[in-house]
């Protein structure tokens, strides 16, 4: 009986305590914590947009971020992605498979031979990075992000660049409403709509007066990015608009305003930019010195991918990219009198020169180099015939960035000043706009081109027609790949698919556009695959 009482007296409170324990445990609402991240969803639900956490940090991301395979524009220095799509697929550059090197599952070969499909890795990466960059720019420009006037102007230009690039490659642009649920599918802007949007943003930025109006003397970096050569200034915005108008017909089917192209290049000139005529032409790409008057905007990215991807391992390189021999031969003979200066080798540093690299290669000590099969390392002036089977010597190389390391070794993190927009490119746009009927230039197109030739010690041309422009552009801008690069220039002249060059036959028209990536079509039924794919 006593036991019974004990039980009653103790069990009930203990049982209650146990149940209280159970109840006490159930204390979490399972809401996520944001201890290492910032919640940027809006007030009206998790799907809505509440403005970016920091407008300055988001603008910084538009320049630098490596997210989404590099949505920041500084990542344009990659040898893959944009550079591959605009240069390797065109008639200046090829990437040769050499035994155990550079096969890379065929990504380079199908680009050069125009046999790519919607699953091409770089097609997808280009699609992703420009779309992600576009979205971030849209988010930053949203009033809830409270961008400053200067941030707005820079973001507008970057947004226009992404819109332009997407239309250039794909002919359409998906658009996501910032407040829509993420499961809602983006709508699709036509090329005309997207380019109209790009023009609106560019016009607003240029007219706003909120872009830095610096000239070539602006610092390379440091301090405020907006006022340095690696930030978007007024001249960069003008360059962008000139490029857009020059290519408007290719992009939208409606001819662009050539007078505007000329006016924009004139405005760039008014800011102090001009052809660099100092002694060493290749100093244009030696920005560390920054003594030239030519560079409108540079990117703070790795320049080694424009040097080491070309030269042989015994020169410290990776030995994949070559320039087409036909492109080299555009320069004529080796006689400086009628050859453009880019056809000649520049100053020899540690055995490696700039310009077209050909003939017997030497090491830093001047000794003749061999390849890894003990053959003399000679880059021959011979037409290329195979993308797939090559020895280590095939192909001539083009290098514009001088080797800067003193000891001949690899230069480490030093190579970070990538020349993006330069005045010669702008001047050639002005000349072409003139040939396309534009007016407003002080110089005739022929005078403009002859100035560039004179700098290269090449003889003056007696006459100039629009048909001469593709070769003139190839001579001056080979391997640079800036804002559409060689590909859009070829498209402008109707040569990208119909043209033939080394290891490229005539291909079908539909390859003027790249396919929408297969996975993008699969994830968004609003996106129709481009015709032909």
């Amino acid at each position: 009986m006593k036991k019974q009482i004990f039980k009653r007296k103790t069990i009930v409170p203990i049982a209650i305590a146990c149940i209280a324990l159970l109840a006490g445990q159930s204390c979490t609402d399972l809401e996520p914590t944001f201890s290492d991240s910032v919640d940027t969803s809006g007030d009206s639900g998790s799907a809505s947009f509440g403005g970016v956490a920091s407008s300055s940090a988001s603008l910084e991301s538009l320049y630098t971020s490596g997210a989404s395979n590099g949505l920041g524009i500084y990542n344009l220095t990659s040898q893959a992605d944009d550079y591959a799509l605009s240069e390797v697929a065109a008639d200046n550059i090829a990437v040769l498979t050499r035994g155990a090197d550079w096969s890379d599952n065929g990504v380079w070969r199908v680009l050069h031979a125009h046999t790519w499909d919607p699953n091409h890795q770089y097609v997808l990466q280009v699609w992703n990075k420009h779309n992600a960059g576009l979205l971030l720019a849209n988010q930053l420009l949203d009033s809830r992000s409270s961008p400053s006037a200067a941030e707005t102007a820079q973001a507008q230009v970057i947004k226009a660049f992404h819109l332009y690039t997407l239309v250039d490659y794909f002919g359409k642009v998906p658009f996501r409403d910032l407040d829509a649920d993420s499961s809602e599918l983006p709508t699709v802007l036509s090329a005309q709509e997207a380019i109209a949007l790009a023009e609106t943003e560019l016009n607003a930025a240029i007219a706003s007066g909120n872009l830095s109006a610096h000239g070539p003397e602006a610092p390379l970096s440091g301090g405020d990015r907006a006022t340095s050569l690696i930030g978007v200034g007024q001249a960069a915005a003008l360059f962008m608009r000139a490029r857009l108008n020059l290519n408007l017909e290719v992009l939208t089917g409606t001819a662009g305003d050539m007078n505007q192209v000329i006016a924009d290049v004139n405005a760039i000139e008014d800011l102090g930019f001009e052809l660099d005529t100092s002694d060493d032409y290749f100093d244009i790409w030696n920005l560390a010195e920054n003594e030239n008057q030519e560079v409108i905007m540079a990117l703070n990215g790795d320049t080694r991918t424009r040097l080491y991807n070309q030269v042989h391992p015994n020169q410290g390189g990776w030995n994949g990219f070559v320039t087409l021999t036909e492109t080299f031969r555009l320069h004529g003979t080796n006689d400086p009198a009628d050859d453009a200066r880019i056809g000649l080798s520049g100053e020899n540093v540690d055995g490696l020169s700039t310009g077209y690299i050909r003939g017997q290669q030497v090491g830093p000590d001047g000794v003749d180099l061999t390849d890894r099969q003990d053959n003399a390392l000679v880059y021959e002036d011979e037409l290329l015939t195979s993308l797939e089977v090559n020895n280590e010597r095939n192909g001539m190389r083009i290098v514009k960035y001088p080797v800067r390391s003193a000891d001949g070794g690899l230069p480490g993190d030093g190579f970070r000043d990538y020349v993006w927009m330069r005045f010669t490119d702008a001047a050639l746009m002005r000349a072409e706009a003139g040939l396309r009927g534009g007016s407003g230039a002080l110089l005739t197109p022929l005078e403009e081109v002859n100035l560039i030739r004179a700098r290269a010690n090449a003889s003056a041309l007696g006459s100039l027609s629009l048909d001469d422009m593709p070769d003139i552009l190839a001579r001056e801008l080979n391997a640079e790949g800036v804002i559409g690069g060689r590909r859009i220039a070829q498209r402008r002249f109707g040569l990208f698919t119909t043209g033939t060059w080394e290891m490229k036959v005539v291909t079908e028209d539909f390859r003027d556009l790249y396919p929408i990536p297969g996975s993008a079509v699969a994830t968004n039924p609003n996106l129709l695959q481009n015709e032909g794919y």
């Binding site: 399972l30 155990a100 979205l135």
Partner: protein
């Protein structure tokens, strides 16, 4: 009350019959070798006076005559009869019956007799564990149970172990089961940082997080294979559950000591060209028929491989009495890897104690484990690029060169022959880089059980699992690579996990005649807190790796970051078992899981299972030849939330780490809104039969299962424009695993001197992805020279997971160039990295005091893509002046030296194998009465004596993680740390 009354009457009757015998109360504990036995039956012989032991094996029996005999019995154990002789306390240790059908299995929040179990549950006891050099507890049960595939990813001490129970049910989530140690469910996270070696060398996955447990402390490992068993773990049970129970004190004052010394070596090395062969081959390949012999002579394997010594010591003291028990143990293992710079040193201490209070109503217990692991890892990585890691550098190093070279004009740099960043020197990799890790992990559980009545009890369990790990790496400025030359780099990476658990549940257990009702109802709360820190410094003047790691301020430029992720899990669970007539068993389970990883629309998920079994051998009409014949069937739905990660459903921003001296980190969106995000769901159906024949001389089980995963998680391409190229999504589609498992145990010979038994298990599994309408996803990244962007697998509808997607290589043409079928387009080739059949065969022999155990395991039907051969055994490599595998020799002069080594069926091989995994020969000494020993045993053990396989690589049991598009790979072999052969000598003694 009625029953008590009835009992009283009966007792009274018995009392009257027995007359003069004086009645008394007897109490005590019934236990087995591993601990107390709940539910054991204690009956006064010849009467109906009896009781069952409680949850801690305790019993109290009233009205026992002083000269009565008590019968102690328990399913699966031999009964014991003990005369009371006036004693009031009788503690009994029951011996296990030979028949495994009667064993007790741990099932999560309780134990169950295998006889009444409805689910597919397997238990492996310490005696059956694999012996030898064992780091991770999973390896203890490799090959011991049907349908459970356990493979270390490579041969490194402590390397991650993949455990696949009944196939692979998830694409991107961790497919490992949930591990529960003494009732505490662990998080699946790694406790140490991965080994990230700068200088283009690559990254190796973190060591297995379970390596903190000392195998010596483990009493049993139970595996819950089907939904009926695993549903009690709800959203974490889809891959099965592995319950690890550690040893506790069970006898009075036992001191145990064990020690092994082991010798390991790499028996099967991939053959390379030697100096003469290399020079001959290069001479043949060169255009002018000459080769400039550098005059050196190097066998790279001499530099990187060694014979290893591993020592292991364990001491434990345990004690038990009527009020409780404890066990204290200390273990130390110092393991050398067979590759230089590879070391694993572990010190563990464990204290397990149980104590009962208030007439055994209250039981307090603690399980405390502390372990410290100091390890060094060599620069062997999962993703060496064209330039390579330690293994590929060894493959490629030219044997006509010496490793040391001080003359810079002859290619010397930092004193080593490093002619360019493209040419790696294995000795430089060993001497000029260093990675060490230190991991402390504490796992403490504290439990209190209160027994309200004999039938109802309440248990609360509080657990803390805390680990803190630091990885330090340095790469000297003398190491020639794009990111280290004249710079030098050092990294400090920290990982800190703090996981807390609080679980409480009621248990109700009551017998009604032959029927038994067993109910469990409870609540669980867990919080997982993961913190990481990382710091990288570059530009060091010093080349002293220790200074770089330990005084990182010697660097000029830094980048740093930290993170902190918190996940919460809250659950309610219920289980009801009913055993009818001792032959029908029914079980139903429900668990409701809420997780902070689930999106707002799916905060809670409900999981559950039900099942039934029927023991036909209890029926009169059933053939007598069967001692046991139990049919089981179960159906249920369980979940998997491992693949989710922390908060992938809210739009949020984070700043990423920058580059030292370069760009600062930039802000980016880490996830965006997806309120529908939830667990993967796994529907499982299981039918099986457990049988025993010929006096249980032959026992076994045969099962069929089908597991269907729906709503599986994929990281899909986001519909652009999007902040992120990928997003997590629950995908429509099904991953179906179905298969058959057979386990057989047979005692072939059993007499006084000689004993022979055979344990055989085989599992067949068929895997397919179906009704999947999403995009095909490239997977299985292939690395090596000229292989950027190459891949070998693809995820597609109507294909098994890990299906190879390759060009069809048909040989070489007259010019020595590749011939491919189908225009050299990659396509499915009807091969997958998944094995069809898993096999384990153990034979145990005993002759007098000698015993011998021989264990084979095998996997069949899987293919291996030799990324090693693709990357390092190509004629192109040889023509670039690198050394290659000897298998290239016949191609010299046949294959075009510039023929590219495309990803193709050329490098796909059959990976089936049968391995003599473990042989142990032991001798138990006869112990005389007055010896200080209770037990003394010496043994010799050999692991991995030979492998029968057609695979040409180092070892067919290999899988280098080759993640691509966030889809994992299986069956790709790339510079895997080689698997050693080991011989051990050991002694076990108890005092």
């Amino acid at each position: 009350m009625k029953i008590t009354l009835l009992k009283s009457f009966l007792l009274l009757g018995a009392f009257m019959c027995l007359g003069i015998a004086k009645a008394q109360t007897v109490s005590g504990t019934v236990s087995d070798a591993t601990g107390p036995l709940p539910g054991a039956s204690v009956v006064v012989k010849g009467t109906t006076n009896g009781t069952q032991t409680d949850f801690d094996g305790n019993y109290t029996l009233n009205d026992v005559g002083a000269d009565a005999v008590l019968t102690f019995s328990y399913i699966g154990f031999s009964s014991q009869e003990i005369a009371v002789n006036g004693q009031t306390t009788l503690d009994v240790v029951l011996q296990e019956d030979a028949s495994e059908l009667d064993e007790v299995v741990v099932v999560g929040y309780g134990t169950q007799s295998k006889r009444t179990a409805v689910g597919a549950v397997e238990s492996v006891k310490a005696e059956e564990f694999n012996k030898g050099v064992i780091v991770n507890p999973q390896q203890l049960i490799q090959g011991k149970t049907a349908g459970v595939q356990i493979s270390a990813t490579n041969g490194e001490p402590g390397a991650a172990v993949n455990v696949r129970i009944r196939g692979t049910a998830s694409v991107r989530s961790n497919n490992n089961p949930l591990y529960v140690i003494d009732g505490i469910p662990l998080s699946g996270a790694n406790t140490s940082p991965s080994n990230n070696v700068s200088g283009d060398i690559g990254t190796t996955a973190a060591l297995d997080p379970l390596s903190f447990l000392n195998p010596f402390d483990i009493a049993s490992i139970d595996i819950l294979k089907d939904a009926s068993a695993a549903a009690i773990y709800g959203s974490r049970g889809a891959n099965g559950v592995v319950l690890i129970t550690t040893k506790r004190g069970s006898r009075e004052g036992v001191l145990e000591f064990s020690s092994t010394v082991s010798l390991g070596w790499i028996q099967n090395r991939i053959e390379l060209l030697d100096r003469q062969q290399f020079i001959q081959a290069q001479t043949t390949l060169s255009v002018d028929g000459t080769f400039d012999d550098a005059g050196g002579n190097t066998d790279a394997y001499d530099v990187i491989f060694r014979n290893s010594i591993t020592t292991n010591y364990n001491v434990a003291y345990s004690d038990a009495n009527e009020d409780g028990d404890y066990r204290l143990s200390i273990g130390y293992q110092d393991q050398q890897g067979e590759v230089e710079n590879s070391e694993f040193e572990r010190l563990t201490a464990r204290f397990n104690a149980t104590r009962r209070y208030f007439d055994d109503k209250l039981t307090l217990e603690t399980r405390a484990n502390i372990s410290n692991i100091e390890n060094q890892r060599p620069p062997i990585t999962d993703n060496p690029n064209a330039r390579g890691d330690l293994l590929s550098a060894s493959y490629g190093f030219t044997p006509d060169r010496d490793l040391l070279e001080s003359d810079t004009s002859a290619g010397g740099f930092g004193g080593y022959y490093q002619p360019s960043a493209e040419r790696r020197n294995p000795l430089a990799l060993l001497d000029l880089t260093r990675s060490t890790f230190s991991t402390l992990r504490v796992l403490v559980g504290f439990g209190a059980t209160y027994k309200f009545t004999d039938n109802l009890s309440f248990k609360t369990n509080i657990g803390l699992d805390k680990s803190t790990s630091t990885g330090k790496s340095a790469q000297s400025r003398s190491f020639l690579s794009e990111s280290t030359t004249n710079i030098g780099r050092a990294q400090l990476n920290g990982v800190k996990l703090t996981n807390t658990t609080w679980e409480s549940y009621f248990s109700y257990n009551k017998g009604f005649g032959d029927d038994i009702l067993d109910l469990t109802l409870g609540h669980s709360f867990q919080e997982f807190n993961t913190e990481t820190t990382s710091l990288e410094g570059i530009n060091f003047e010093t080349t002293d790796l220790f200074l770089m790691m330990n005084n990182i301020a010697r660097a000029d430029d830094f980048a740093a970051n930290s993170s902190n992720q918190i996940d919460e899990l809250q659950s309610f669970f219920f289980r009801g078992n009913y055993s009818l007539d001792g032959k029908f068993n029914f079980s139903g389970t429900v668990r409701i899981d809420g997780s902070s990883r689930f999106g707002g629309n799916n905060k809670y998920g409900t999981f559950g299972a039900f099942g039934a079994s029927w023991d036909l051998s209890q029926e009169n009409w059933f053939p007598d030849v069967f001692d046991r014949f139990k049919l089981r069937a179960a159906w249920g739905v369980v979940g998997n939330q491992e693949g989710l990660g922390t908060n992938q459903f809210t739009r949020r921003e984070q700043v990423s780490i920058g580059t030292p001296g370069g760009d600062p980190g930039s802000t980016g969106t880490v996830s965006f809104a997806n309120d529908d995000l939830k667990w993967e769901e796994n529907e499982q159906f299981n039918v099986g039969v457990d049988f025993g024949l010929l006096g249980n001389k032959i026992t076994g089980s045969l099962e069929y299962y089908k597991r269907t995963t729906t709503d599986f998680l994929l990281q899909l391409q986001t519909a652009q424009p999007a902040d992120q190229p990928f997003r997590f999504e629950n995908i429509d589609g099904e991953i179906v695993n179905q298969g058959v498992e057979l386990s057989l145990s047979a005692t072939a010979i059993e007499n006084e001197d000689f004993y022979w038994d055979i344990n055989f298990n085989v599992g067949y599994n068929d895997n397919i992805l179906q009704n999947y309408a999403g995009p095909d996803i490239q997977a299985g990244a292939i690395n090596g020279p000229g292989l950027t962007g190459a891949f070998a697998q693809q995820l597609s509808n109507d294909q098994p997971l890990f299906s190879f997607y390759l060009r069809d290589w048909q040989g070489l043409d007259a010019d020595g160039n590749n011939i491919f079928g189908d225009n050299a387009v990659q396509q499915f080739v009807g091969a997958s990295g998944l094995p069809d059949v898993t096999l384990g065969i153990t034979q145990n022999f005993k002759y007098k005091n000698w015993d011998l155990s021989i264990f084979f395991n095998g996997l069949f039907g899987q293919e291996i893509y030799s990324n090693d051969r693709n990357a390092f055994a190509s004629i192109g490599n040889l023509s670039q002046g690198r050394n290659v595998f000897a298998s290239v020799l016949p191609l010299v002069g046949v294959e075009n030296p510039f023929n590219p080594a495309e990803v193709s069926t050329r490098f796909l091989e059959d990976g089936s194998f049968l391995r003599l995994q473990n042989v142990t020969l032991g001798h138990n000494f006869e112990i005389s009465e007055n010896s200080i020993f209770n037990n003394l045993r010496v043994f010799m053990n050999a692991q991995n004596l030979f492998v029968i396989t057609d695979y040409s690589g180092q070892d067919p049991e290999v899988s280098t993680p080759r993640l691509l598009n966030n889809v994992p790979s299986l069956g790709i072999d790339l510079t895997a740390y080689p698997r050693p052969t080991t011989i051990s000598l050991g002694i076990n003694a108890s005092f």
